[in-house]
């Protein structure tokens, strides 16, 4: 009789416990999956080439300013809720130094936003405690607007044309920073945003980078 009572108590306490834990884990698992690993596939080489082959719009609408722009100081991406300070960053030990959390980093050895060439700005996908400044960059749609304000207060506007997720081990340096493409005589100002993506492994970090390519937006008349 006592044994039957014990079994009953075990069932009355254990079954609801298992059920409750399962429900909580299922709900949180769905949530975690969508946040930890953006729903993106690695880009095929042709897809990367297409996204990286950014061309400016008609020259008369995107003409570069006659004087060199100042270094960038602020980045704004309204559709991603991003409004942040941009600090210059350099390369150290073969990799770009990452900016402070909450700030974006502009690769100062390359072009400035607003001038010819590929200006590169990086930001954290996340930090230890949660989402980072560029957490929503991987989900930006083509056509999304990006504005970079320089130290003289001039705004340089871009629109997203494509993105690609690539393995860090196969980081496409030429597509991101340029290097062998002909600048020719046509002005072309490109902005490349870089953040992390793909699966995360403790001790290893994220496997991939997400690259977002944007071209200079037509100037307001």
């Amino acid at each position: 009789m006592r044994r039957r009572a014990r079994l009953g108590l075990l069932a009355a306490a254990g079954l609801p416990a298992i059920g409750a834990a399962t429900i909580v884990l299922l709900l949180s698992g769905a949530d975690q999956g969508s946040r930890s690993e953006p729903a993106r596939a690695l880009a095929a080489p042709s897809e990367l080439s297409r996204a990286a082959a950014v061309q400016s719009g008609p020259p008369e609408l995107t003409a570069l300013p006659s004087r060199r722009p100042a270094p960038p100081s602020q980045i704004s991406i309204p559709s991603a809720g991003i409004e942040a300070v941009v600090e210059p960053v350099a390369a150290r030990d073969g990799a770009m130094r990452v900016p402070d959390v909450g700030r974006a980093g502009w690769y100062e050895a390359g072009p400035r936003p607003g001038e010819a060439g590929r200006a590169v700005i990086i930001g954290h996908l996340d930090r230890r405690e949660g989402p980072g400044l560029f957490a929503r960059v991987p989900s930006l749609d083509p056509g999304s607007e990006i504005a970079v304000t320089d130290r003289r207060g001039e705004r340089h506007r871009y629109e997203v044309v494509g993105s690609a997720q690539v393995e860090k081990e196969r980081f496409p340096t030429e597509e991101v920073y340029g290097g062998s493409h002909s600048p020719g005589g046509s002005p072309s100002s490109v902005l490349v945003l870089v953040t992390c993506g793909g699966p995360f492994e403790e001790g290893e970090g994220y496997r991939d980078n997400v690259l977002l390519f944007a071209r200079a937006a037509p100037r307001a008349s």
Partner: protein
């Protein structure tokens, strides 16, 4: 008849990790050409006059580069014996195929390194100008040294020494920050003489940036705590209800 000449501009200090070569097609009226590099597998995509292939990487520092037209080798093979980036310029002088190997330079962070190469046989010695500034004189097949410039849009031109009027001029050439660039003077022989401006290299970290710390993943940890708490609460409730029922 083949004349292969080598212009090695830049010192060994500019050596890079691997050997990469591209082809600039500077044969006016010539058919499309491809670059074949030993140890590189497939040849490059074909390019026409005034175009350059992408750089092709060789499997070792020593490599042999050949120019291929319609499946046949044009001229002789060019031996490369040191790491670095090179441009193979294929041009024609009368019936002579001239293949010139030029060593490409590395960039200066935040500035533009810029030079000019003379590959237009119908122009003899030429005076080179960047904007209004004369930066030197070049004979055919010669290359200027790289100069360091502020990034900007600039006009480039050539003129005969002692003359004021430019023979060839191109405005709004972009001097891109953090790159090394070369303006090749090509043409004549039925094609207009002009400049082909190519980027030789760009300032670039070789490794991918580490812009994630796993916070989005770690946000899942409290789920286990929530599951544990939910399980304890459900167990407690179940146990209490069961006890009350059995006491009755």
């Amino acid at each position: 008849m083949v004349l292969a000449s080598i212009l090695l501009s830049g010192a060994a200090a500019e050596a890079m990790a691997a050997t990469e070569v591209r082809l600039l097609h500077a044969i006016p009226g010539g058919p499309d050409a491809q670059l074949q590099l030993s140890g590189a597998g497939q040849p490059s995509d074909p390019v026409g006059f005034g175009q350059a292939t992408d750089y092709i990487g060789a499997s070792s520092a020593r490599a042999t580069a050949t120019v291929v037209v319609d499946g046949e080798q044009l001229g002789g093979a060019t031996e490369i014996e040191a790491d670095g980036r090179y441009t193979l310029v294929a041009r024609k002088n009368g019936d002579t195929q001239v293949i010139t190997l030029i060593r490409d330079g590395e960039p200066t962070p935040g500035k533009t390194r810029w030079r000019m190469v003379h590959a237009a046989p119908e122009i003899d010695e030429a005076e080179l100008l960047l904007g209004e500034e004369v930066i030197g004189r070049l004979a055919l097949d010669e290359s200027s040294e790289y100069g360091t410039e502020e990034p900007r849009a600039a006009s480039i031109s050539v003129r005969r020494p002692g003359e004021d009027e430019p023979l060839v001029e191109e405005g709004d050439v972009q001097l891109v920050a953090g790159t090394a660039q070369t303006a090749y003077l090509v043409g004549s022989g039925g094609e207009p003489t002009g400049f082909v401006v190519l980027q030789d290299s760009a300032s670039a970290p070789q490794e991918a940036p580490d812009t994630g710390k796993g916070g989005l993943v770690e946000a899942g940890r409290p789920a286990w705590l929530a599951a544990l708490l939910a399980a304890a609460l459900a167990a407690g409730t179940g146990g209490v209800l069961y006890s009350r029922r059995t006491r009755r």
